[in-house]
């Protein structure tokens, strides 16, 4: 049976992991490759790196990061954060990343989704959506949650899949950093609307939040950042709780020796 995936996310700036809440109050949390290796040992099914470097050096640092990770990690990983062109996506994929996530750039120019999918395949193309609950729906916000777009997130997910996105990564801005648990209604609305896998994020604080996510929505994966970084929660303990709840997860592997 296909297992539900647990995905630690690392926000990276100038080659270092940073984490406060997602978009503000950045604190240094270490070397991305070291942390990634630790997550791998702990049973992470996949990793997401969001490069939030905004300098002219970004192009170099983000490709370098992907190459360094691919040298030592043999599980799938996605790179996102300000990816604005199919060319840059290609560079990241060529050095060993499996997927590239586009977010704000895709809202500004949706053609980039189709361009990456056409060149590198839908399996390598992730549409990342930040959204906030407004009135009776979820509105897409961009630029790190600052800029509302007026666009409906469920419709945007559907449109993105039609354009070639092979996976949807959701982030609830309302829940992000709140530790109130995943936004189940938002996640399920999107997961029911699209036929590609959906990754939920924003708000997870406990193993029980992951159990709720998979017991009550059709999400395929759950992502979290700071709770894993600061050791408040381990991937292993999340998986133990999921297994106890009868939710299929990848068991700990026999060590490579």
């Amino acid at each position: 049976m296909l297992t539900k995936r647990i995905i630690p996310c690392l926000d990276v700036k100038d080659g270092r992991v940073v984490k406060g809440t997602r978009f503000a109050d950045l604190r240094d949390a270490g070397d991305p490759v070291e942390l990634a290796t630790r997550y791998d040992r702990d049973g992470a099914d996949e990793l997401v790196f969001l490069d939030i470097t905004a300098s002219a050096e970004k192009r170099r640092t983000v490709v370098e990061l992907a190459a360094r990770v691919a040298d030592v990690l043999f599980i799938p990983f996605t790179v996102g954060g300000g990816i604005g062109s199919a060319d840059l996506a290609g560079e990241i994929l060529r050095v060993g990343a499996d997927k590239v996530a586009v977010n704000s750039a895709a809202v500004r120019d949706p053609a980039i989704i189709g361009e990456i999918a056409r060149r590198y395949g839908s399996q390598a193309t992730v549409l990342s959506i930040d959204a906030r609950h407004v009135a009776d729906h979820w509105e897409v916000v961009i630029d790190g949650g600052r800029m509302p777009t007026g666009r409906d997130a469920v419709a945007w997910a559907t449109d993105g899949v039609a354009r070639g996105a092979g996976e949807i990564l959701l982030n609830s801005i309302d829940r992000d950093g709140t530790k109130l648990g995943f936004d189940l209604a938002f996640t399920d609305a999107v997961a029911r609307a699209v036929a590609v896998p959906v990754i939920a994020s924003g708000g997870a604080a406990s193993a029980a939040d992951f159990v709720d996510l998979f017991a009550r929505t059709q999400a395929d994966a759950g992502l979290a950042a700071s709770i894993f970084h600061y050791g408040e929660l381990t991937v292993g303990s999340v998986k133990d709780a999921l297994m106890a709840a009868g939710i299929p997860v990848r068991p700990r592997e026999r060590a490579f020796a």
Partner: protein, 208 residues
Amino acid sequence: MIAIVDYGVGNLASVRKALAAVGARAELVREPTALRAATAIVLPGVGNFGHCSREFHRMGFAPELRGARGRGVPILGICVGMQLLFEGSEEDRGEPGLAFYRGSVVKLSGAPRVPQIGWNAIHKTGEHPWLRDVRDGDHFYFVHSYAAETSDDVTLGTVEYGGERLAIVGSDGLLGVQFHPEKSGANGLRLLRAFATADAGVVASVSH
């Protein structure tokens, strides 16, 4: 030297790096005749079958792969590279595979989500030297919308996804896996190590 067939598709750096991690020296090969010097060959592939098949044939790799198969050079097909071992695919009916095995590749149906993306357990149904460290129930990382079907007696493993799908096929000197061993953690590295030690490409005993 292990040759990774580079016909312009897929994440070849990952395959090379994973082979390096098990102590094997592998090179990307863009010149088909260079496969004559290979002690083992990895045939990767990702994305669309028709695109892969067109590029693979256009660059002239098909006769060299057949030659290598004839000489008994170990060959490992991964993902669409595994699908290329068959006669063709309904993803692009006009494009032929290598036809090492009878059968063709069909769209996943009956599953809630296509593509299948993620870790799934294989059911091991047969033995092969390169599967010596793979156990029934081991999890591997899958990314695919199509799966092969065969009437040949070459099925070595299956995976449950909206039905029982072909996950591993093989025979003497040849193995095809629908999953990505280079992205399947320790389970994948064990498989790659067994494949790599089938030739002289392993430079040292491996320990991690």
